[in-house]
Subunit: 313 residues, 2 copies
């Protein structure tokens, strides 16, 4: 075709110089809401010491899509994906095409999200080892031309270890890894009793949650299956890092105060920022002593990252 | 439970007087983007002559959810649902609970959307008779506690006829009815060749689209299955009215200029506004001669609406 219109991003290969605009991207960070991803953009800008020209500010590149918000901070894109597999799926198709048109080599994709924990208190950070659906299958099922196909929902194991290795023991919360269950519904689909409908009992729900927990599922959310499957299919290194808002073994409703929830949501952000900063420091794109936080890392952990990062580029 | 927190709406039965806030609602209108539903709120406000107190303006009731936008104009709620079945599904659970807490009797739900036409040019208005999935099944499939369940995706037949009866023959576009296919993906799921991946040919795609068209499918979108199934399950009268942005038998990409797309998107809005206005006029809530457009309706169509509306309340 003459040009490729990335309809939901309000970008196009004919109307925009995508290489000039996005050619320097290395990390693409996704999260649910436009607000959170605007905040993430400002946070990563401070963390990596990215300077904007005098008299300029960040602008939502997709502001006229009214669907997704996208901010660019040097080598980092910060994009909101909305809720659920279809919403993140449309976005991934278009961002993968964007990376292709922009000639970006080996980008790393992160999803920064919220979730329900299974056996973990609110505020716990979960790095997904793989995604499974509500029937514990490690695949994304799609109906294509009327036929059901399956795509493995795999995530990069090394990236999981690297992120886990960046955990700061000083911080007052756990960072754990495990399987992430991804559902198409927040209420019945996640075994909640408090939706508009519910045809099962508290006992049925607990039996189900205990069963998936024994299978290795540590949290439940609504995007990881598509995120893992589509990035894996495209050969893109990707990770999913979420914070739990409650322990589903203890309840269904999110009851913590807004200020507490807001602080919890900073936790996955901190981990991803640390990863990006470390990568850029190792590549010499920002100075090692420029922003302080290197000092809190133990030499062992720093070395781990250094070794494993060598596979990039 | 003590109180019900409608988490994604930032409302709760304990923290808000939901009867006082929402007890007078009769119509709930849903659409994809916050912008479109803000515009819809202003349009319906002008159409029904709803006056705000001096010195006030409409405010997004869910502004701090950063997920959905909700505007209230007298008896009309206008809410954005994001993209895809999970996003509209979460919202429907919470809005159905909101109607229950607010003691609203017999609300009518409308989805106003955009879609791909099958055999219809861009700009055609489609009123859905029922929703089917990508395998032509007239059900929403859900995984609940690990088991697959199915909910009929039925819409109100009389409401379809009433809306069709409000078509204005003077308007330069068609208003048609038929089956609406609802998919979990915009690219592969709708047989598009222009996604990040595609494992089928143009001929495969055309064979599929022709096949679903013969089955009575006139358009494809991404929310109607959940919209039909959840409202039907709750016993809520509902309709889906979308405008086509292109004829999928002729292409995959949305190529029309923004101004044209914007004008097309007003078309379902006009029809729904006409319906709501007529209902309120018949109920004596607004005057018959207050806003002019009654004059363009034929007596026959007016009578049809009047007769059939008698079943409400």
């Amino acid at each position: 075709m003459d040009q490729d219109i990335l309809y939901h991003l309000t970008l196009g290969s004919g109307s925009h110089d995508l290489v000039e605009m996005f050619g320097d991207v290395k990390f693409v960070c996704f999260g649910g809401t436009p607000k959170r991803m605007e905040q993430f953009a400002h946070t990563i800008m401070a963390e990596i010491g990215h300077k904007l020209p005098c008299g300029t500010t960040l602008q939502d590149i997709c502001q006229f899509s009214y669907r997704y918000a996208m901010y660019k901070v040097g080598p980092v894109l910060s994009i909101s994906h909305g809720m659920g597999i279809p919403s993140v799926g449309i976005l991934l198709h278009e961002v993968i095409k964007l990376m292709y048109h922009a000639k970006v080599r080996d980008p790393v994709f992160f999803r920064i999200g919220t979730c329900g924990g299974i056996g973990y208190e609110g505020g716990t950070v979960v790095i997904s080892e793989e995604a499974v659906d509500g029937a514990l299958r490690n695949v994304l099922e799609l109906t294509v031309l009327g036929k059901t196909i399956q795509r493995p929902a795999k995530l990069d194991r090394r990236l999981v270890r690297e992120l886990k290795g960046l955990a700061d023991p000083e911080e007052p919360y756990d960072i754990v890894t495990g399987k992430t269950m991804c559902t198409y519904d927040f209420y019945e689909g996640q075994g909640r009793l408090d939706g508009a409908f519910c045809d099962f009992t508290e006992a049925d729900k607990m039996e189900y949650l205990e069963r998936v927990h024994k299978h290795g599922v540590v949290n439940i959310e609504m995007e990881s299956l598509a995120f893992a499957a589509l990035t894996h299919h495209a050969g893109i290194k990707a990770a999913v890092v979420c914070v739990t808002l409650l322990d589903r073994l203890k309840g269904d409703q999110v009851l913590s105060p807004k200020e507490v929830l807001d602080e919890w949501q900073q936790r996955p952000t901190k981990l991803i920022c640390r990863y990006i900063k470390r990568y850029l420091q190792l590549k010499g794109r920002i100075s090692l002593d420029g922003h302080g936080s290197i000092a809190v890392m133990s030499p062992r952990r720093f070395k781990l990252v250094q070794q494993e990062s060598e596979t990039y580029d």
